[in-house]
Symmetry: C2
Subunit: 331 residues, 2 copies
């Protein structure tokens, strides 16, 4: 009781398998009468072309890998970025008729798996999501010659096209907003410095403060809520007189709000807080979080389009998307 093959359909319809193949693939050079009889046989037998056989002969799989760097297991990872980026990219790929293969790249073992899978021809191309700068994967994978794009700029330039948002401009706007409010001791909670987004946001913070002759106060987080809370505690200890904090993403800003609340500091009266990303939770924070909106969904969509272009036209250029200051209550 096997699934019907092209051959079975051809026999049923009384035509050659070439003709059936032509009908299935919508080729125009087939007589209406034959087309009809074949379609009837297909419907009758419930025929669906075998994917593996097709992949083998065409040397393509119609599948795109979404490769996401995975934190060590056990870590809480309800990262809104993951959900939004993976969802948006998948949607876009699916409506372009591509299948989506999700690969997590955490351990060395999993990185090897990814490498083999691309080498095995399991996919036609790949989207790399938020690789950190220390990760050797982008360099290795770019050597396969497959079309690959990156969601987020890579530490090593020139390996592949990418789409990122204007981290430098956004962070500059954030710090300038705090300065414009008359804040004098402005600290920052940075992301992990092996990620370019974290680097760019930190650099912009430093440069903007330097221009006004103020000193930097930096705590190092890792883009999670808990690291934001911890970093905020640290900052309060180091510099009890600070009156503003720029967190390199909203998750850490939300963690910082919690610490400030526990420490009895009023936001924004005692300490202003500004985040980055404008995730939905920012609107529901207490007080509602002032932040820099980064177009997450648009970025994912553009990254996908970049790959699709690369697939069809063979070339693609990096893209930088603008950010926007969203003023709410926290700063």
């Amino acid at each position: 009781m096997r699934r019907p093959t092209l051959h079975a359909v051809a026999a049923r319809a009384g035509v050659s398998k070439s003709s059936v193949s032509r009908v299935i693939n919508g080729e125009p050079t087939v007589a209406p009468a034959i087309r009809e009889i074949v379609m009837a046989a297909v419907a009758e037998l419930g025929y669906v072309p075998n994917g593996a056989a097709r992949n083998l002969v065409t040397q393509r799989t119609n599948t795109i890998a979404i490769i996401v760097s995975d934190p060590p297991a056990g870590l809480v990872s309800d990262d809104p970025m993951f959900a939004m980026v993976v969802r948006a990219a998948s949607r876009e790929l699916e409506s372009a008729g591509k299948q989506v293969s999700l690969m997590l790249a955490g351990s060395d073992e999993s990185r090897l798996r990814v490498e083999k899978s691309l080498a095995a021809g399991d996919v036609d191309g790949a989207i790399l999501v938020s690789m950190d700068g220390a990760d050797p994967l982008p360099a290795i994978l770019s050597r396969t010659g497959l079309p690959i794009v990156s969601h987020g700029r890579l530490a090593t330039p020139g390996l592949m096209p990418w789409v990122d948002n204007d981290n430098h401009g956004g962070a500059t706007a954030a710090v300038q907003h705090l300065l414009a409010q008359g804040r004098r001791r402005i600290a920052t909670i940075s992301g992990p410095l092996d990620m370019t987004a974290a680097q760019e946001r930190l650099t912009a913070y430093r440069e903007t403060l330097k221009d006004t002759g103020r000193r930097s106060i930096v705590a190092l987080g890792d883009f999670t809520r808990i690291s934001g809370a911890d970093s905020m505690r640290q900052l309060l200890e180091d510099d009890p007189d600070l009156d503003a904090v720029f967190a390199a993403n909203d998750l850490m800003a939300i963690g910082a709000l919690r610490t400030l609340r526990q420490a009895g500091r009023r936001v924004p009266d005692d300490v202003a807080v500004i985040g980055f990303d404008d995730i939905e939770a920012a609107l529901y924070a207490a007080p509602a979080l002032t932040t820099i909106r980064s177009p997450m969904t648009a970025q994912a969509v553009q990254t996908t389009q970049l790959l699709l272009n690369l697939l069809t036209h063979g070339s693609a250029d990096p893209v930088v998307l603008p950010t926007e200051l969203i003023i709410r209550e926290s700063a």
Copy 2:
């Protein structure tokens, strides 16, 4: 400049392709001398077996589909559930040596794509995530005869094994906690009623209140923050004297907190709020959210294991995981 094939490796090593195949697949019946010479040739040529050819002849793909119901495009969807479940299931599948194919099932079109893909033999099995009861997909897919399991109980029983958490027990505990605090007018914000989790939580709420002779006050949400905020507004309008709210998930509870804050009600003094799920954001809410912990990661892991069992042993039974009351500040 093609990628090397089994044939090329065989020629290079001076053995038959059968022997190479045996070495690649780790079969024991091969002489050490041959094994060594083959491995050397493999390394030298950088050979990686072609996935499509292997899939074709073995009639298996080593790929599992994760099928997630997708809200209409445009909707904000940073759902922590998506991230945690997809991540945990992927990790588990990958460490079992399976590839992961992610499929979104939103529109009729995408549902058809999923159906065809399973029929085409693109995957060896599938995990359905949080299908709503109105979705015809589970019934259709279960007819393919492929091993399929569901993350979350389905409306139609018996179609396939599933793993769920104890929604009824959890919701009962939540309402009893509010009662024990002396709350008298306890409202609920329900999830979308075509999802079994929402149904079960609502039923438990109703039954528990009925046992103490109190009346139900129900608003209908859809598991998003904004619907929680809207429903809370509605509830305050309908019954200004309510002194407690049980939200069917944390996201809606967080939305409700915002509305209460805007309405000037103190939590928990004026109104107690309790959620469900214990997502990480619950800890960072202001006030910190009392909630029912549902073991999201464990549920995803167990669902995956259930599928892997089904694949190897051919049978599997439904699983219900316990929940736990987490008392914080909001109730």
